[in-house]
């Protein structure tokens, strides 16, 4: 599961000869060194790993910082800084730390650093976006230097504190230099050592020869953001970059047919959906109409045409590789006749008198605007008049926050907890901030599942909750994205479901 790509012996020898210089931060990489250039659409916004949750920033910090645990490609939790972890009491989770791990400056990584990290994120004065990840933890105990205990407020079946994404920072270094300093001067223990960062231009990293997991195969990593998708593809084709993210599907043929380029894809955990705002008055409060719309949308056709075949129809809000997913829930298959029949039953024969707005953001999710237009087109085939209202993201998310988007709105949900809990509570529980669905029976089930320690009983609760969602149809269930990446042919790497870019999993051939 922690397979390491093999590196030619010659490269390893050269690397060994050069690594002293590399660590000292010498200016230019020698020619024989291997360098990978990675182009995401957005630059990391800070080198401080405890502030933000957005993917491009996390992808930079995950290469410089280690986490307690990691997910393997299949989503299974594997040891990382923690060699073992167990549920020692209903409210206590215990981690045993790997010994001999040091930060780049030589400081040993101990339980005090873990405690400092969690407390830093929890501190309301920090205003960290990662706060919600640790809000179930009441306190952190450190019985010895290599044992950490997370004590939760309530019994929980889920490993608390997102140990697979929370970067462990150097407490001593942090206290010495203060908060603001961290934004440009990170101190981690990870596979790649920070060299320099010119914002929106280049982040330069060098392989860490003393990494506890062994020196990674590629000597240098450069993160060079390219915001415009057309330019990103062009830069890959000219060889200016080795890996690009968010490839629009129409470029697939061009990249896979290119002399030096290829396509990588991974079934993403991000689910796209159209929600009905059932908390606002309107025809969308009628369950029959909601079900009718689910039958009216032809998800496979959307995937085929708008996404170039890159998507997987979703039957539930929870992806199949998450704990809590229920295979018993059926899909809504495209059936226009049935949709019209249900609509008539709901009181709208031939969609008469139905004029609905489908809200969607632009530039947030892959092909969001195009999908909204296509879905509005499909819904209109029932006779209802559905028009789109497309808005820039921040305006849009502000309205999401106030539950003001109505009657229909598009949203994507990407979650890296690998558990149903966060999705099912944040999106559907009556009192969740952005939820536009209210059903006390559902709330009871999901709340019980959250604190149910027995996995069989827990799954039974989720089966019931997901069946309610299918029947009540607070969403038009759409699909999971298949993320597309373009890479140069010399790069060996396999894309991951969580959109992460761990350079230590990459290697180069020549």
């Amino acid at each position: 599961m922690l397979e390491r790509p093999s590196t030619p012996l010659a490269v390893r020898l050269l690397v060994a000869a050069l690594c002293g210089g590399a660590l000292a931060g010498s200016a230019l990489p020698a020619q024989a060194d291997s360098t990978v250039t990675i182009s995401q659409g957005v630059d990391p916004v800070t080198m401080d790993p405890l502030k933000r949750t957005i993917t491009p920033t996390q992808n930079a910090s995950m290469n410089m910082f280690d986490t307690l645990l990691r997910h393997d490609r299949e989503g299974k939790i594997v040891p990382w800084l923690a060699t073992s972890w167990k549920h020692v009491a209903p409210t206590v989770w215990e981690f045993k730390l790997r010994k001999g791990v040091t930060f780049w400056n030589g400081d040993p990584l101990t339980s005090a650093d873990v405690k400092f990290t969690v407390e830093k994120i929890k501190d309301p004065a920090e205003g960290s976006e990662q706060g919600p990840r640790v809000n179930t933890i009441a306190r952190v105990e450190t019985p010895d230097a290599y044992t950490v205990r997370y004590v939760t407020f309530k019994p929980t079946a889920i490993v608390p504190g997102y140990p697979w994404t929370t970067s462990i920072v150097d407490a001593k270094y942090w206290k010495e230099h203060g908060n603001e300093y961290q934004a440009e001067h990170p101190m981690g223990s990870g596979a790649y050592v920070f060299q320099s960062w010119r914002k929106d231009e280049e982040l330069d990293l060098n392989a860490n020869p003393k990494w506890w997991h062994g020196k990674p195969p590629i000597d240098h990593a450069i993160f060079k953001p390219i915001p415009e998708a057309a330019s990103r593809v062009a830069a890959l084709r000219t060889g200016e970059t080795d890996l690009i993210t968010n490839v629009p599907p129409q470029y697939e043929a061009q990249i896979s047919g290119g002399r030096n380029t290829k396509i990588e894809s991974a079934r993403s955990d991000r689910v796209l959906f159209i929600a009905f705002n059932t908390t606002k008055p309107g025809p969308q409060q009628n369950k029959l109409l909601r079900r009718a719309f689910n039958y009216a949308v032809d998800v496979p056709a959307l995937i085929r045409t708008v996404l170039g075949g890159h998507g997987y129809p979703a039957s539930t809000p929870v992806p199949p590789n998450f704990t809590g997913f229920s295979a018993k829930i059926p899909f809504y298959h495209h059936d226009l006749a049935k949709a019209k029949q249900l609509l008539a039953k709901a009181g709208y024969p031939d969609g008469k008198g139905l004029e609905l707005v489908l809200n969607a953001p632009v530039g947030r999710y892959n092909r969001d605007k195009e999908l909204a237009e296509a879905i509005a087109g499909q819904l209109s085939e029932t006779g209802a008049k559905v028009t789109t209202k497309i808005q820039e993201w921040t305006t849009y998310v502000n309205q999401t926050s106030q539950r003001a988007l109505t009657p229909l709105y598009m949203l994507g949900w990407g979650d890296n907890s690998y558990d149903a809990d966060n999705t099912l509570t944040s999106l559907f529980e009556s009192n969740a901030r952005i939820s536009t669905y209210a059903n006390p029976a559902y709330d009871t089930l999901v709340d019980a599942a959250r604190y149910e320690v027995d996995s069989g009983k827990r799954q039974a609760l989720y089966d019931k909750a997901l069946a309610i969602l299918h029947d009540d149809a607070p969403w038009i269930f759409l699909f999971q994205y298949d993320d597309l990446y373009g890479t140069s042919k010399r790069l060996q790497w396999r894309a991951r479901a969580d959109e992460s870019l761990a350079v230590d999993e990459m290697s180069l051939s020549n």
């Binding site: 057309a230 330019s231 921040t394 998310v397």
Partner: protein
């Protein structure tokens, strides 16, 4: 002259103050950064904590007073997005943007002024038609369209120039041409028009009658008189360039202030938007002041009372 200068400088301060007030009001109209910054799963309490930590829960007038007070001290606060001082973030982008904008401006002027002059002198000739056609392309092609075309032709197909980021002069070629096109078209039309006016004026006809050689005539008499509006235009175009730079910088991954500003606007990163806008306003008034003074130097007929 001194009185004029004082009035102009006072006016310049007025403009910057006006921009500061407008940017504050407009920003608060565009919505709350808390919703954009915090993840969707955060609870109402977490959003409230964020708003409190950033001081967004204070009455609007208190927020404005504190903004104005800090502004007077040159303090824009920490960026919500980056957690670093906003003014520093803005200032560190200025060199890259200036490099691109100045190159584009020089390119535009170097091409447009001679081309516009020749077009006017040889009115309706093939050269005139060619120049006007180029102006048409520059005027009617959206910046992003032109940029992507150049990338595909000169970057991908021919492989002559890199298509992203900074580096040597090669990196500057495509973005500079892209950014220059619109301004070039404008200055070319302007030069042509204003040369036509001068060429038809009485005193130039007199010069022709006196037998002044045609090259000398154009450079010494005509162009000198046509310079005035051209200099004005260049001053204003520099402002236009900086705002057009947003799209050019995005297409060519150029690490300039336009990209920072655009991202900050999208994120409602109030301190950074405020810093960039006020920085822009200051450079705008300074450029215009310099242009006005350049008038006086170029045209002694202008007097300021």
């Amino acid at each position: 002259m001194t009185a004029f200068l004082i009035r102009r400088i006072a006016g310049a301060f007025g403009v910057v103050a006006g921009v500061a007030v407008v940017v504050f009001i407009i920003l608060h109209l565009t919505g709350d950064p808390a919703a954009a910054m915090m993840p969707l799963e955060s609870t109402q309490a977490e959003i409230a904590a964020f708003r409190h930590a950033q001081g967004f829960d204070r009455p609007l007038w208190v927020q404005f007073a504190s903004f104005a007070w800090n502004l007077l001290h040159g303090n824009f606060g920490l960026s919500l997005r980056h957690g670093e001082p906003a003014l520093g973030l803005a200032l560190e982008r200025v060199p890259a943007s200036a490099e691109l904008a100045v190159t584009a401006l020089v390119l535009a002027v170097v091409v447009a002024v001679p081309a516009g002059t020749v077009a006017a002198v040889k009115r309706n000739s093939a050269l005139d038609v060619a120049a006007r056609l180029l102006a048409l392309v520059g005027q009617s092609t959206p910046v992003y369209w032109l940029g992507i075309m150049l990338i595909l032709i000169f970057g991908v197909q021919l492989g002559w120039f890199p298509v992203s980021g900074t580096g040597g002069w090669q990196h500057l070629v495509l973005p500079a041409i892209t950014l220059a096109m619109f301004t070039m078209a404008r200055i070319m039309r302007l030069t042509r028009g204003s040369m036509l006016d001068v060429l038809q004026s009485d005193y130039l006809r007199t010069a022709v009658a006196k037998g002044v050689g045609s090259f000398r005539l154009i450079w010494h008499h005509a162009l000198r008189n046509a310079w005035l509006p051209i200099v004005t235009a260049i001053g204003i175009e520099l402002g236009t360039l900086l705002s057009q730079a947003i799209i050019t910088e995005t297409i060519f991954s150029w690490p300039g202030i336009g990209r920072l500003a655009y991202q900050a606007i999208l994120d409602r990163d109030y301190p950074v938007v405020e810093a960039v806008v006020i920085l822009g306003a200051v450079s705008f008034v300074v450029i215009n002041l310099v242009v006005d003074l350049a008038y006086a130097a170029l045209d002694p007929r202008i007097r300021y009372e």
